[in-house]
Structure formats: structure tokens, C-alpha cells
Subunit: 275 residues, 2 copies
């Protein structure tokens, strides 16, 4: 797949209005889904998160059937790829005040799957630590909204294709997530992942891994995580909807080997059809 | 003036590409200028701040002459109105990583002046306190970027046209700014305004008022400001490029009368052609 295809409010189109609040204020949400054989993976989880995000931002939730029909139509002939959903509060006058009854803009688009080397899954990745922090805001924490300048600045800090991901800390130096992934530490056979009540994005694959851990009776804890926790862990993993899971082979000055937890979770995710 | 006019990259147009990073990530900046008799006010300050914002976000600064020519062309027949400049990092593939050599998108648009009652300038306004906090992020503080969900959520908290502005606090409860304005406390003939090193937007009118204070030998301090400081002040003022300055007649449970500082500054701003 090399051509990108886009539906704007259900019709083929390549543009949005210049007064769309998505552009003016980042006033909206998005979802990024892996496609396999014409179907977006973890589709119900993506729709659930989008609906939850709408609730958090005070947006009317989109019709799940409409989104599903448009997405399946766009994906029909695609064996592997990326489906992106983007929803904004729609057009509005100048000024922050949201319209009482917004007419959201809905964009569904197809993209090629990123071309990562297979070694990222088998041998692990180097995870650099970014200088750009994530600001605290409980009102926005967890939501996959369109205010993503922190991630853009963090991802702009390095330019080495051999380093696919960077770790982001909050303003007090606690570990939150990767620029495009969530992070897990594995210690004594259990999982620890940062709480996302003050900042960060609650990833769909993070939810899936936590659900999987519950199914497999793997202890999992959500809490405060420091760089020292990562450096002391038996394994470190990053997760997102496109990659599923990558083991980390280097972080915070420490080298790690991909371990049994990464392999076990990745195999289970594949069996579940989550990746 | 009732029709809105828009130039996108110098050409009349009403739309931007759906893959513009301004829409995808709020990856850009904007300026809002008051228009008077065909000319944007405080134009050099607006261009300076835009250039500084570009530097902060790693964007190539737009050509001042091009922006000036486009803006003056658009404003030519307009007696009073609002000119908005919006600059994004332009188109890009999926993914946060900014392109090494971006081709920014530039939008210049005309809007009607908001229709506020004259009493807001003479009798003052009620300033409510918003529940939505401003998250700390030194990397983005001060910049008028397109990540404005905090302001959108704060402005969505109330719906009373008699209350034109809300005060925003940081996550520790310190005063930062209004949703669309900066704030000053007046105590013993001097000005105090919040430092904007961790969050907030460094408004062009705030800069102008600070410059004016220096010219008039009015002591002005930038520092930490609490709600108690506002409640204990002789006067409280809010400023932005469109309103110039409004006295506050009610904030944090306290009633105030518009005082001599508000009148003096507003008269001086008018004499300087800043409003």
C-alpha cells in the first residue's frame, strides 16, 4: 500500500476547513489502529477510548456503526497498514469558547505501516531519555487528544533511525511513557506501569497488556515509576497499537536482554489477534 | 464587517490539507491582532512574538514582509476588526517526528471585533475562577501555540455572557492568566503580574503594559501571584490585544472598584495607538 486514502465526514477528501477547531486549538482526539487483512485490530477498544475521550472533552461521541462502516470500507483491500481516526469539535468562530452544540469533523485515513526492522521485536530497542517533559494536567491526562506539541518537541530531539523511541518524564522527573508508546517494567515476574492520572496517554495496547496479564495471572501494578525502577528492572517493555510490544535493550545507561516476559506477552498478543 | 476573509499561503482559500500538522498535533502558533483603520495594532510586537515562538518550536520564521503585505492587503478597507495569523509546521506523514525541513502553512484571516458592552471598560468585569488548571511545561510556557485544550475546557466551564473572562490557576493553585488575557494586580501604585516560566501565554498587550509602566515610572514586578494577592489588591486588571485593558470589579469573592491605575493605563494605551 503506498497511496494514502482519506474520508472527511464520510466523503473522499483531502482537506478540512481553515476554521476547524482541530486546527485552531487542537480541539479534538485521534486513534491509530493497526490493520490486518482488511480489519482494524482491537477495534472495540479503540472505539471505547474514543468515546471516553469525547466524554472527557465534552464532545458528542461519534456513531460507532458509521465509523465502523467507513473504516471497513477504507480498509477492505488492505492486508497490512494503519488506520487513523481523527475527530474534532468542528467549525467555530474565533475564540476558545466551545459551541454549545458542536458539529464534529470526522476524518478516517489509511497510511502505510512503519517499516521497523524485525530486530526491534527480537533483540529489543534502545530507549533514549527525552529532555522535553510532560506537563501535569489531570483534566487532560490519559486522553489521546490533538494537543501533542510535547511529543513533537520530544521526538524532534533526536534523529537516529537506530533509536526508535524516547522516554518522557513528568516535570518532577518521574517516568510517564514513550513519545508514542507506554512503558512497563518487569520485576520478579510482575509488571509495573506508570499511573496516568496527571499526564500521559492511556494506550489501547497498554489496556490490552493489562487485560492479558490479568488473564495469565501475571501480577500487574499501576503506580509511580522512576528511572531507577527501570534501571533496576529485569525487563523493560514498550507497547503501542502498531508495534504491539518491543523489549528494551538499553535505557538510562543500562543494558538489558530481552527476557521471557516480553516473549510470553508478545506471543499471547499474537494469539489474541491484538497485533 | 460581517464576512470573514482568509488567505492560505497567500491565496484566497477556506481550507487546509487534512494532513497538516497544525490539525494533527496542534503543531504551530497564532497571533490575534486588533485592526484599526486598515492597520493591525502593535504589529511589530506581534511579528516579534511569532518569530520567538517559531524559534521555541523549531519552525522557520515567516518572512515579515510577506506577512505584512498579506495582512495589510486583507485589512485595507477594514475600519475595525480582528486579524489572525496562524502558522503551522505544514504537511507531514503520520508520526510525531517533525520533518527536518518543514514547509510551514500560513493562514491570515479577518474576523469581526467581539461585541463587548462599553461597561466592561468603564465599570469593570467579573472574573470567575476556572476549575481547569494550566499544566506546567517550561518548554512551551509563554508561547502562543496551537495546543489550547486547557483554554477550551476552561472557557467551556461557564455560559454567562455577563462574565466575559475566567482566571486560570496552575496545578498548585497559583494565578497564571485569564483564558484569553493576562492579569495584573495593582498594589500601592505598583503592578504585579504572574511569571510565565512554567505555563501561560506571554501576551503582546502584557508586554505593552510592562513597557508603558517603565515609560511612566510605574513600578512593575513579575513574580508569583496567589488568589489572596488578587483579593488584597487595590485594583485588578486583565489585558489582551483586542480589549486593551479591562478593570476587574469582582474576583475571588471580592468586589473592587475600577481605580486610577486602570484609567491611567487605558488612556496611555489609547494615546500610544496600542488599542
Amino acid at each position: 500500500m503506498t497511496t494514502t486514502r482519506v474520508l472527511v465526514d464520510g466523503s473522499p477528501g483531502l482537506s478540512v476547513r481553515a476554521d476547524d477547531r482541530g486546527l485552531l486549538y487542537g480541539d479534538g482526539l485521534f486513534e491509530t489502529c493497526a490493520l490486518r487483512d482488511g480489519r482494524p485490530l482491537l477495534w472495540a477498544r479503540h472505539l471505547d477510548r474514543l468515546a471516553l475521550g469525547c466524554q472527557r472533552l465534552g464532545l458528542p461521541a461519534p456513531d460507532r456503526e458509521v465509523l465502523t462502516r467507513e473504516s471497513l470500507g477504507l480498509c477492505a483491500a488492505v492486508r497490512r497498514g494503519v488506520l487513523k481516526l481523527l475527530l474534532t469539535r468542528g467549525r467555530g468562530g474565533r475564540g476558545y469558547r466551545p459551541p454549545a452544540v458542536p458539529t464534529p469533523t470526522r476524518i478516517v485515513s489509511l497510511h502505510p505501516l512503519p517499516d521497523y526492522p524485525p530486530s526491534f521485536w527480537t533483540d529489543g530497542i534502545e530507549l533514549r531519555v527525552c529532555a522535553t517533559p510532560l506537563g501535569d494536567n489531570p483534566r487532560l491526562a490519559g486522553v489521546k487528544h490533538l494537543n501533542r506539541l510535547e511529543q513533537v518537541l520530544a521526538r524532534g530531539e533526536w534523529d537516529d533511525p537506530a533509536v526508535p523511541e524516547g522516554l518522557m518524564l513528568d516535570t518532577r522527573g518521574r517516568v510517564v511513557e514513550g513519545t508514542m508508546s507506554n512503558v512497563f517494567a518487569v520485576t520478579r515476574g510482575g509488571l509495573l506501569t506508570p499511573a496516568l492520572e496527571r499526564c500521559g496517554v492511556a494506550g489501547v495496547m497498554r489496556e490490552e497488556v493489562l487485560a492479558l496479564a490479568a488473564d495469565l495471572a501475571i501480577p500487574a501494578r499501576i503506580g509511580e515509576v522512576s528511572l531507577a525502577d527501570l534501571a533496576a528492572a529485569d525487563e523493560v517493555l514498550v507497547t503501542n497499537s502498531l508495534i504491539g510490544l518491543w523489549p528494551v535493550r538499553r535505557v538510562a545507561g543500562r543494558s538489558l536482554a530481552p527476557g521471557p516476559m516480553a516473549r510470553r506477552l508478545l506471543e499471547a498478543l499474537r494469539r489474541r489477534g491484538a497485533v
